[in-house]
């Protein structure tokens, strides 16, 4: 089904500050909601009178609501982050490809997130935890710049209680931090996943995704079962405008989630 290009009206029902520059919004549809989403897909989120940006979907709320996490990096995202309860926003989508979490069933699911890369993975994780018995191990490795810049920190214990093995590492520990210190790839060998039965979902800065994949490949995880989420300048969301082209892909349609088999040569291209 083609997602509509006209935005649906959604009202901000809740606003949670994740970090100093990142906010999670609970959005409720005012009229007809957008079609059901697959974890990994994104919407075009419109701040009326200011502009529209692609934002990954982090989950669903009650009554066809959406959970979307936005980092303030420009005029539109600053306006979205400032949107308080009651504010109307426009939502188009959902667009793009999903993580296809179900294909990891009967094996180990490895989720590797860097920074705000956890936002598009949260939906995949919740989906897997909702069907916990379908997976062997669910391992979640999270890297953040510092403890205060960890998104969804409040949910970690809940994920662990639901059957996920979640580990967090930070680049810059604060006083009193007793967790891991280092880059997230350093947690991979310690996780002890069974490579032959592992599906890895990876999202974060591209360098981090590349390093993660390059560490998983020699362990024996095949490239087709390593999935990464690529971010480019999505504008139309329906593969018409070409702004998000990466090699042969239009990422709003062919991505954002692609296998590393497809992504590896594209991540090596030096772009203009």
């Amino acid at each position: 089904m083609t997602a509509p290009v006209l935005p649906a009206r959604y009202r901000v029902a809740g606003r949670q500050e994740e970090t100093h520059d990142t906010v999670t919004l609970d959005l409720w549809p005012v009229d007809q909601p957008i079609p059901a989403y697959q974890p990994g897909q994104f919407t075009m989120l419109y701040a009326p009178g200011i502009g529209e940006v692609p934002v990954s979907i982090s989950g669903t709320g009650p009554d066809a609501g959406l959970v979307q996490t936005v980092r303030a990096v420009g005029a539109v995202t600053r306006a979205l982050c400032a949107a308080g309860p009651g504010r109307l926003l426009g939502v188009r989508g959902p667009y793009g490809t999903g993580w296809d979490v179900a294909s990891a069933a009967d094996g180990d699911l490895l989720i590797v997130a860097g920074g705000i890369g956890l936002a598009p993975l949260r939906g995949a994780l919740l989906s897997a935890l909702g069907h916990r018995d379908r997976y062997r191990r669910i391992v979640v490795l999270i890297g953040a710049r510092s403890p205060t810049e960890l998104v969804f920190a409040r949910e970690l214990d809940q994920w662990r209680c639901s059957g996920a093995e979640a580990e967090v590492t930070v680049d810059q520990p604060s006083a009193g931090w007793t967790g891991h210190v280092g880059v997230v790839t350093q947690l991979l060998p310690r996780a002890g996943v069974d490579p032959a039965r592992t599906t890895a979902l990876v999202c974060g800065p591209e360098v981090m995704m590349r390093l993660t994949a390059r560490q998983l490949l020699p362990l024996g995880v095949p490239a087709r079962r390593i999935r990464v989420s690529l971010e480019r300048n999505m504008r139309c969301g329906v593969a018409e405008c070409g702004h998000c082209q990466l090699g042969p892909l239009l990422l709003c349609r062919d991505g954002p989630v692609v296998s590393y088999e497809v992504a590896a040569p594209l991540l090596a291209i030096r772009e203009l």
Partner: protein, 170 residues
């Protein structure tokens, strides 16, 4: 040679060699070399907060972590900076192999930790006596050092800062 506070199992060279050879750091090493290392090795476990060594101490021991995790730190005046944490499968200690055999950082157990503890002087002597063992061990130490160097470089890049490619404009 064990520092106070650590508890040790009775050494049993045969079983120790099999267990030692199963450690991720030594995986794939020929059994004859593992047997030599096992003679310099004791299983040990330490409680949370145990101080393995401080910056400037002589590097007389090295450890292979079996479970738990350990923080490497520096102590500028009035502060403690955690440089990195190590965990299951990791080598704890690089300075035992390089003169002047002094620790460059401190190390503290962040939680109860189980390790293999090896006598650095015995290991160095065994490597000198058999360059084949020395090469096998050096390859592994080099791999660990290379991974840590790469991780340090990546952290210097501050990857989680907002990149210009995702900056939006109205």
């Amino acid at each position: 040679m064990t520092a106070p506070g650590a508890s040790q199992d009775a050494p049993s060279p045969g079983a120790g060699a099999a267990e030692l050879g199963g450690h991720a750091f030594l995986r794939g090493m020929p059994e004859r070399y593992v047997a030599v290392l096992a003679r310099a090795c004791r299983p040990t476990q330490v409680p949370e907060g145990y101080r393995f060594f401080a910056e400037g101490d002589p590097a007389n021991l090295l450890w292979l972590i079996r479970s738990g995790h350990v923080a490497l730190d520096l102590h500028p005046p009035g502060r403690r900076l955690i440089v990195e944490t190590l965990g299951k499968g990791d080598l704890l200690g690089l300075s035992w192999l390089v003169p002047p055999y002094e620790w460059q950082f401190g190390a503290t157990a962040v939680q109860d930790t189980i390790l293999f503890e090896l006598d650095a002087a015995l290991v160095r002597a065994a490597c000198d006596a058999d360059p084949g063992l020395g090469y096998e061990l050096l390859r592994r130490v080099m791999s660990a050092a290379s991974s840590r160097l790469q991780a340090a470089r990546i952290r210097m890049l501050d990857l989680y800062a907002a990149s210009s490619s995702v900056r939006d404009e109205a």
